[in-house]
Amino acid sequence: MRHIISILMENEAGALSRVAGLFSARGYNIESLTVAPTEDASLSRLTLVTRGSDEIIEQIIKQLNKLVDVVKLLDLTEGPHIERELMLIKVMAESPLQREEIKRLADIFRGNIIDVNEVCYTIELTGDVQKLDAFIDTLKQADILETVRSGITGIARGPKSLNL
């Protein structure tokens, strides 16, 4: 099963490499990993997407908790939650027809065109993985110049929150 694990860590040099190192040393897979400081500068928040059987996920959570820099963590997939990913995608847009078609698609997906020139558009799109994948699928493969995805971040629904 796919799990989204949200982690509060001490904002120390090397904290990220402890998490990455743990996953590679123990052969767990990481589908995506995002990290940034929080409103409390001494803490980083890390969101990690992984897959595994219940036993493996249990070990992953125990091993993460064992890292001295980990202050607290939450398996978001255990309850209702929201997940979001940001994508920036650069697509060919030369002919007027092509430009119109891409604009229309971006609108349907509630994307924003954030850079425009004679040859291409850059679109910003947020959503869950399925939505971003679906958008890519609707575009012609040959038209895509570049995609950048941030990796998943997420938060629990309702008042439940991960903080100190």
Partner: protein, 564 residues
């Protein structure tokens, strides 16, 4: 008072109560060595190789319960220490390793003797630190000791750039430290403990399976009391030996790959397995599906990650063994129920039948010295009261099987990493910690050569160790596997061109003895132990064909032992 980083470090070690520091100097730690020179409280032990410093400190910790402390220089000093750090990590031993680092400004520049010590050691430490500011030095050291010694113990590395040891700041000893991200659990869950005790009282074929956690957690007394009250059989992992008296009738021996027939059969047939401070290592379980197939399992461990890692357990109890065992004893006292005496009697009858198989017997009429006989005689000559360190190989297993450890912290060996070269430096660490004690190092001609340079350290500090080299002329454990599983193709397991160990010992300033016949073994051992103030290297020429039995082949179930 303003002090330099180097003086702060040494003052901190004094204030923390560190009496021995095992180390080796070099450029990046020269300020620290200068600070050491100007004091006497912390005794520095100069080894001959940094690996030996880590093993000595590790064994100091294993034999005392206090953390071992190491000081090495940057680059090669740090990399040489890695094997010893990993050894301590695998066996959960508290240790603080201080590594020098190049000047902060040079970090990342491929500077002279620079390695990323924090990066290299990350996978084999409990935690590590790079100290970037002298003002963080004392508190970081405090955290290092706190982390190393609490919860599941382990090695912690503190990497200190040279400039930090020169800068000055005020020093106050940090008496206490708290960390919001690190709060190990000590007390076990009351409800779970009660449930466990009830299961014990209902069990028909119970078995205690206890490990290194009992030894490291100072819980041997508690375990012995609980086991005696219940009358249950006890088996130990190799790391757990001494956690329950080996000469006690309730002891069924070590379990696992080279465990006794009775221990492994008991595991295979028990209906309740009570695992205490043991981690279900693959050398212990054999084929997982066949491990304790009819048992419900209780597991007491301080590390939640140890629980249900390899084997799914029914009653997990996270907590310190000593604390949990005390509560269990109390619960038992208060309970009106008694263990099922009738069921236990027939369980014991079954176990005695297995015991009668006499799985550790060996040929006592041979013309050649049998290694088992040397260990048995060593036990007799030292009255079972020596500290015994070991290297890795067949000799290690014979030591585990034949030296009956009645007390905890007496059996010092590298179990998890299986590090050849551990034995001699470990014996040094033990002797420093217990200057008056009898310390024997059981080794093989292969292993001893991995840190033989330490014979020089032993002379410098007058360490009267007794080295028992079971010289079978083979990398015996490798040879045994090749005999059993590779149709006797002895690929590179023969130790050709061995040194003359007697002359070698003498060249290092010690006494060397060579023993070739079984009838000379006891006399030679007695003579060696008479030399109270000299190191004696005893080279026993043992039967090269002898194998360790029983043996559970890799991938087999515990009840599928190869027996003699």
């Amino acid at each position: 008072m303003e002090l330099t980083g180097a003086d702060i470090l040494v003052r901190f070690l004094q204030d923390e109560g560190v009496d021995h520091l095992f180390g080796y100097p070099g450029g990046a730690v020269l300020h620290i060595y200068d600070a050491l020179y100007r004091q006497e409280q912390v005794k520095h032990v100069l080894v001959r190789h940094e690996q030996a410093a880590t093993h000595a400190a590790d064994a100091y910790a294993r034999s005392t319960g206090k953390p071992g402390v190491v000081l090495v220089t940057s680059g090669p000093g740090a990399t040489n220490a890695v094997t010893g750090i990993a050894t301590a990590y695998m066996d959960s031993i508290p240790m603080v390793v201080i590594t020098g680092q190049v000047n902060s400004a040079l970090i990342g520049n491929d500077a002279f003797q620079e390695v990323d010590s924090v990066g290299i050691t990350r996978p084999c430490v409990k935690h590590n630190f790079l100290v970037k500011d002298v003002r963080d030095l004392a508190i970081t050291m405090k955290k290092a000791f706190y982390i190393a010694t609490t919860g599941r113990p382990g090695p912690v590395v503190v990497d200190i750039p040279k400039d930090v040891t020169a800068e000055r700041t005020d020093y106050v000893f940090p008496k206490k430290v708290t960390m919001r991200s690190y709060n190990p659990v000590v007390k076990g869950h009351g409800g779970q403990i009660r449930k466990a005790v009830n299961m014990m009282l209902s069990a028909k074929r119970p078995l205690f399976y206890t490990g290194g956690g009992v030894v490291q957690g100072n819980a041997a007394k508690g375990l012995t009391e609980l086991a005696h009250r219940l009358g249950f059989p006890v088996t130990n992992t190799s790391m757990g030996l001494g956690g329950f008296p080996a000469t006690d009738q309730q002891f069924v021996g070590m379990l696992g790959m080279h465990g006794t027939y009775e221990a492994n059969m008991s595991v295979s047939h028990c209906d309740l397995l009570i695992a205490i401070g043991a981690r279900f290592d693959d050398r212990v379980t054999g084929k997982i599906e066949k491990f304790a197939p009819s048992a419900r399992i209780i597991h007491v461990d301080i590390d939640p990650a140890s629980i249900s890692k390899n084997v799914k357990v029914d009653v997990p109890i996270v907590g310190d063994v000593n604390t949990v065992l005390k509560v269990m004893v109390k619960e038992l006292e208060q309970s009106e129920r008694k263990p099922d005496g009738e069921a236990l009697a027939s369980w014991w009858q079954q176990i005695e039948e297995w015991r009668a198989r006499d799985c550790l017997k060996y040929d006592t009429t041979s013309e050649r010295i049998k290694p088992q006989y040397v260990i048995e005689t060593l036990h007799k000559v030292t009255k079972g009261d020596a500290y015994v360190t070991s290297d890795v190989g067949q000799h290690q297993m014979w030591a585990a099987q034949f030296y009956k450890f009645d007390k905890p912290r007496r059996w010092i060996n590298s179990g998890g990493l299986g590090t050849m070269g551990f034995g001699l430096p470990a014996a040094m660490g033990v002797q420093f910690a217990h200057p008056k004690a009898t310390v024997a190092c059981i080794t093989g001609e292969g292993s001893i050569q991995m840190n033989i340079q330490e014979l020089s350290t032993c002379l410098q500090y007058n360490l009267p160790l007794k080295i028992i080299c079971l010289n079978n002329g083979f990398l015996g454990m490798v040879r045994q596997w090749q005999e059993f599983f590779y149709e006797e193709r002895y690929s590179h397991s023969y130790m050709e061109s061995l040194p003359d160990f007697v002359k070698l010992a003498e060249a290092y300033g010690h006494i060397g003895m060579q023993i070739e016949r079984p009838e000379d073994v006891e006399g030679a051992l007695k003579e060696a132990f008479k030399h109270k103030d000299r190191l004696v290297f005893m080279n026993f020429l043992t039967d090269p064909k002898e194998n360790v039995y029983p043996m559970v082949p890799a991938g087999a179930g515990l009840d599928e032992m190869i027996l003699i």
